[in-house]
C-alpha cells in the first residue's frame, strides 16, 4: 500500500512539474506578445501623431488660401461676406410640376412607376 502511494505521489509530482514547465513558457510567450503589442501600439500612435501633424500642416490657412486662389476658375471660392446671409423669405419655394388639370384626380399622389422625376 505504502509503495503504491509513493509511486502515485511521484507520478503526481512529474505531472505537476510538466504542467508548471509548460505554464512557465506559455507565460513568457504571452508576456512577449504583450510587449510586441505595446510596441505596435506605440508605433501606431507615433504614426497617428505624424498623420495628425501632416493633416494640420496641409490644412494650414496659408496653404488653403493659396489653393483657393490657384483653383479659383474651378471653385470660385471667396471669403465669406455679410451679404451671403439670407432670410427664409429669400429662398425660392420649390417649383411644383403640377400635372395637367384635366388628368383624373386618382393619379395624383400615386405617381406611375414610369414617371421620371417629380
Amino acid at each position: 500500500m505504502r509503495a503504491f502511494l509513493g509511486v502515485l505521489a511521484f507520478l503526481g509530482l512529474i505531472a505537476l512539474a510538466f504542467w508548471a514547465y509548460r505554464e512557465n513558457y506559455a507565460t513568457q510567450a504571452a508576456l512577449q506578445e504583450v510587449d510586441q503589442l505595446h510596441d505596435e501600439i506605440l508605433d501606431l500612435r507615433r504614426a497617428l501623431e505624424v498623420q495628425r501633424a501632416e493633416w494640420a500642416y496641409l490644412n494650414r490657412p496659408d496653404r488653403l488660401r493659396a489653393l483657393a486662389a490657384a483653383n479659383f476658375d474651378r471653385l470660385g471660392l471667396l471669403p465669406m461676406e455679410p451679404h451671403q446671409f439670407g432670410t427664409p423669405g429669400e429662398v425660392a419655394y420649390p417649383k411644383l410640376d403640377l400635372p395637367p388639370i384635366n388628368l383624373p384626380v386618382t393619379i395624383q399622389g400615386t405617381e406611375p412607376p414610369d414617371a421620371a422625376g417629380p
Binding site: 504571452a30 505595446h38 506605440l42 500612435r45 501633424a53 494640420a56 488660401r65 451679404h83 451671403q84
Partner: protein, 597 residues
C-alpha cells in the same frame, strides 16, 4: 588504549594490603565515564553549531529572496502596464477652440556615433560630410579618432538623410529618437503660442520646455503626464486669427506702420478669439532675443504689442470718464458741459485737435462724438482724481493683465505717481497713463457686456464667466449708444460696416520719446470697437504703431484714417465667420446684393 576495570596487578596488591579491590574498579569506571561524557558533549556541541549554521543559512536565503522580490518589479505588472507609460515624456497638444491643432509633437531622429565601435572613421567622416554639407569631414574625423566614446553628429535630420546614413552601414553610427514641437500653421498666433526649446537631451528621451507665451505660462500643465492625452484648448479661433492677421498685415503694409496689434474678444465670456501682433515670427524657428542690449525691445518681432506694449491710448479713454460721470449721476447724455478751448489749468493749456474750438458748450454725447479734450477734462474735474483712480483701477488699468501668457505679468501699466487734478484731466483723454491694447479691450468689454468686468482669458471657457460689476447696465447701454454715434456721426465714420452697427472710439496719441517729450510726427493710433451696438457681443481693438495714410492730398495720421478702416475690414470679414447675421433695415434688404458687389 582501553584500560581494564580490574587491573590484576593492582587487585593482587590491594588484596595483599587488605584493601577492598572493588574501590579500584569504581575508580576506573568513573574515569572511563568522564572521558565518554566529554566526548559526547563535544559531539553535541558540534551538532548544535552545525544545525544553527544551517538555520542561519536557510533564513538568510529566505530573507534575501524576500528582499529581492520586494525590490524587483514583478513580471505580472509588465503585462498589465498601459502603453501610455512609454510616452510620458511627451507634451500635450495645443488646439484652438474648435480642436484644430496649433502645436503638436513630431518624432524625428538624431544621429550619434560611438567612435570606438567604428570600423573606418575616415571613410565615415567623408561620407557624412557628403550627406550633411554643413559638416566638415576633417573636423568629424578628428572627433572620431581622438579617443572619445560618444559624439553627437546631428540633432535633426530628414528621413532621406537618415536613409543615406543607414546606407553607410558603419556599426559606430547610431540613431536616437527626438521629439520636436511642431507649429503646423507657421507664424499664425506666434505671440500667443510663444515657442519651446530643449531641456535635458538624451539619445532616447527629449525634454521640451516652453520659452514664451502659453507654452511657458502653462508649461506645468502641458508637461503633466496625467493630462498628456488631453489637448489644451485655447480660446483662439484659427479662422478668425488667420483673417485678423491677414487684414492687419495688409493694412499695416498700406499705411507703412512699424507695427500693429489687434485683439478680438467675446464680451460675455472674456475669451480672446484672436490676438495678433505684427511683425511676427515663426515659432518653429524662433529667432533669438535682440543681441544689441541698447536696442528697443519693441523692435524685435518677438515683442507682443497687444500684451507687452504699453502705450498712451489717447481718446479711447474718454468713454471711461463719461461712463463714470453717467454712473455717478453727475451728468446725463444731454447735459451741457463747458467745452471752450483752449482751457487753462494752472500753467497748462488744454487744446483740441488742430486747435479747434467746440465750445462754448457741448452735450456729453457730443463730447464723445467730437472727441473733445476740453469737455472730457471738465467731466474729469467733476468726478475728481480719487474717484477716477478707483474707477480705472476697477477696470484693471493698475495691474498687469491676468491673461495666460508669460509676458503678461511683466507688462505693468505706467501710472502717474501722483494724481493731482492736472493728471486727472490728462488721464481722462488718455495721456499720462500707459496701458496695453489688451487692457483697453478688457475695459471696453466691460462696457459692452452691460458693466461687468471679466478676466480676459486665452483658454476656452465652457461655462459662463463671472466678474465684478463696475457700472450699472443703464450706464453701459448709454455709453455704447454714444460710441455708436462716434461711428455714425463722428470721428470713426469709416468704421461703418453695413449690418453690424459698429460702435467705437478712436484714439491718436503722440509717441513719447525715450529722452522725454513727444515726437511731432510719430503717433500710436487706436480704435476700440464694439459690435453689434444693439446687442454687443464682441470687442475689437486695433492698434497701429507709426502709421501714415498717404492716400489723400496731405499725409494723415489720425486713427479715423488708419486704424478705423482696418478695423471695419476686420469686422466685415470676421463677423460672418462667427455666424453673426447682419441686421439690415427692411428697406435696405433688397439693395444688399447690388450694393455689396
Amino acid at each position: 588504549m582501553r584500560t581494564p576495570l580490574r587491573p590484576l596487578a593492582r587487585i593482587l596488591q590491594a588484596r595483599a594490603e587488605g584493601l577492598n579491590p572493588d574501590l579500584i574498579e569504581a575508580e576506573n569506571l568513573r574515569a572511563r565515564r568522564e572521558i565518554a561524557r566529554d566526548r559526547n558533549r563535544g559531539r553535541a556541541e558540534r551538532r548544535l553549531k552545525f544545525l544553527s549554521f544551517g538555520f542561519i543559512l536557510a533564513f538568510m536565503a529566505i530573507g534575501g529572496r524576500m528582499g529581492l522580490l520586494a525590490t524587483t518589479p514583478p513580471n505580472k505588472e509588465r503585462a498589465a502596464k498601459a502603453p501610455e507609460v512609454e510616452i510620458l515624456a511627451l507634451r500635450s497638444e495645443i488646439t484652438d477652440r474648435n480642436g484644430r491643432i496649433l502645436a503638436t509633437n513630431l518624432a524625428t531622429h538624431t544621429l550619434y556615433a560611438h567612435p570606438l565601435a567604428m570600423v573606418d572613421p575616415k571613410t565615415v567622416a567623408a561620407k557624412l560630410a557628403v550627406i550633411f554639407p554643413d559638416l566638415d569631414a576633417d573636423t568629424l574625423e578628428r572627433r572620431f579618432t581622438d579617443g572619445r566614446s560618444f559624439v553627437w553628429v546631428r540633432r535633426v535630420m530628414s528621413p532621406e538623410q537618415m536613409q543615406l546614413v543607414h546606407e553607410i552601414g558603419d556599426p559606430g553610427l547610431e540613431f536616437g529618437t527626438r521629439d520636436v514641437r511642431l507649429y503646423p500653421n507657421g507664424s499664425l498666433a506666434a505671440h500667443v503660442l510663444g515657442g519651446t526649446t530643449y531641456g535635458a537631451l538624451d539619445v532616447k528621451v527629449t525634454e521640451i520646455i516652453g520659452v514664451a507665451g502659453v507654452e511657458k505660462a502653462l508649461d506645468a500643465r502641458l508637461r503633466d503626464p496625467a493630462q498628456a492625452d488631453t489637448p489644451l484648448a485655447l480660446s483662439l479661433d484659427l479662422s478668425l486669427q488667420t483673417t485678423v492677421e491677414e487684414v492687419l498685415a495688409a493694412g499695416m503694409g498700406m499705411l507703412n506702420a512699424k507695427g500693429a496689434a489687434a485683439i478680438l474678444m467675446d464680451v460675455r465670456t472674456g475669451e480672446i478669439l484672436s490676438l495678433a501682433s505684427l511683425p511676427t515670427f515663426d515659432p518653429n524657428d524662433r529667432p533669438g532675443p535682440p543681441v544689441d542690449k541698447a536696442a528697443d525691445p519693441a523692435d524685435s518681432p518677438l515683442f507682443n504689442r497687444a500684451v507687452q506694449g504699453v502705450y498712451e491710448l489717447g481718446s479711447t479713454f474718454k468713454i471711461f470718464a463719461v461712463a463714470q460721470a453717467l454712473d455717478l449721476g453727475l451728468v446725463g447724455p444731454d447735459t451741457m458741459v463747458d467745452a471752450e478751448a483752449p482751457m487753462t489749468w494752472g500753467k497748462h493749456k488744454i487744446k483740441e485737435f488742430e486747435n479747434k474750438n467746440y465750445g462754448p458748450l457741448l452735450s456729453v454725447s457730443e463730447v464723445i462724438v467730437k472727441s473733445s479734450n476740453v469737455g472730457t477734462a471738465h467731466i474729469a474735474l467733476m468726478i475728481g482724481p480719487l474717484r477716477q483712480q478707483a474707477f480705472l483701477k476697477s477696470l484693471g488699468f493698475f495691474e498687469p493683465t491676468p491673461v495666460e501668457l508669460i509676458e503678461a505679468p511683466g507688462a505693468r501699466p505706467l501710472i502717474p505717481k501722483r494724481w493731482p487734478e492736472i493728471v486727472a484731466i490728462t488721464t481722462s483723454y488718455g495721456h499720462g497713463l500707459s496701458a496695453s491694447p489688451l487692457h483697453l479691450a478688457a475695459a471696453y468689454a466691460a462696457i459692452a457686456n452691460g458693466g461687468v468686468m471679466l478676466k480676459p482669458t486665452l483658454l476656452r471657457r465652457d461655462g459662463p464667466a463671472s466678474g465684478v460689476r463696475v457700472m450699472s447696465e443703464a450706464t453701459a447701454a448709454e455709453a455704447v449708444k454714444m460710441l455708436r454715434r462716434v461711428v455714425t456721426d463722428g470721428t470713426a465714420s469709416l468704421g461703418e460696416v453695413p449690418g453690424y452697427e459698429v460702435a467705437g472710439k478712436t484714439g491718436t496719441a503722440d509717441k513719447p520719446k525715450a529722452s522725454g517729450g513727444y515726437y511731432e510726427d510719430k503717433v500710436i493710433n487706436t480704435f476700440a470697437a464694439v459690435f453689434p451696438a444693439s446687442n454687443p457681443q464682441y470687442v475689437l481693438v486695433v492698434m497701429l504703431d507709426e502709421p501714415l495714410d498717404t492716400a489723400g492730398s496731405e499725409p494723415r495720421r489720425t486713427a479715423g484714417w488708419t486704424a478705423v478702416p482696418i478695423a471695419a475690414e476686420i469686422i466685415r470679414r470676421v463677423a460672418p465667420l462667427m455666424g453673426l447675421r447682419p441686421r439690415l433695415e427692411a428697406a435696405a434688404l433688397g439693395a444688399i446684393p447690388v450694393s455689396s458687389n
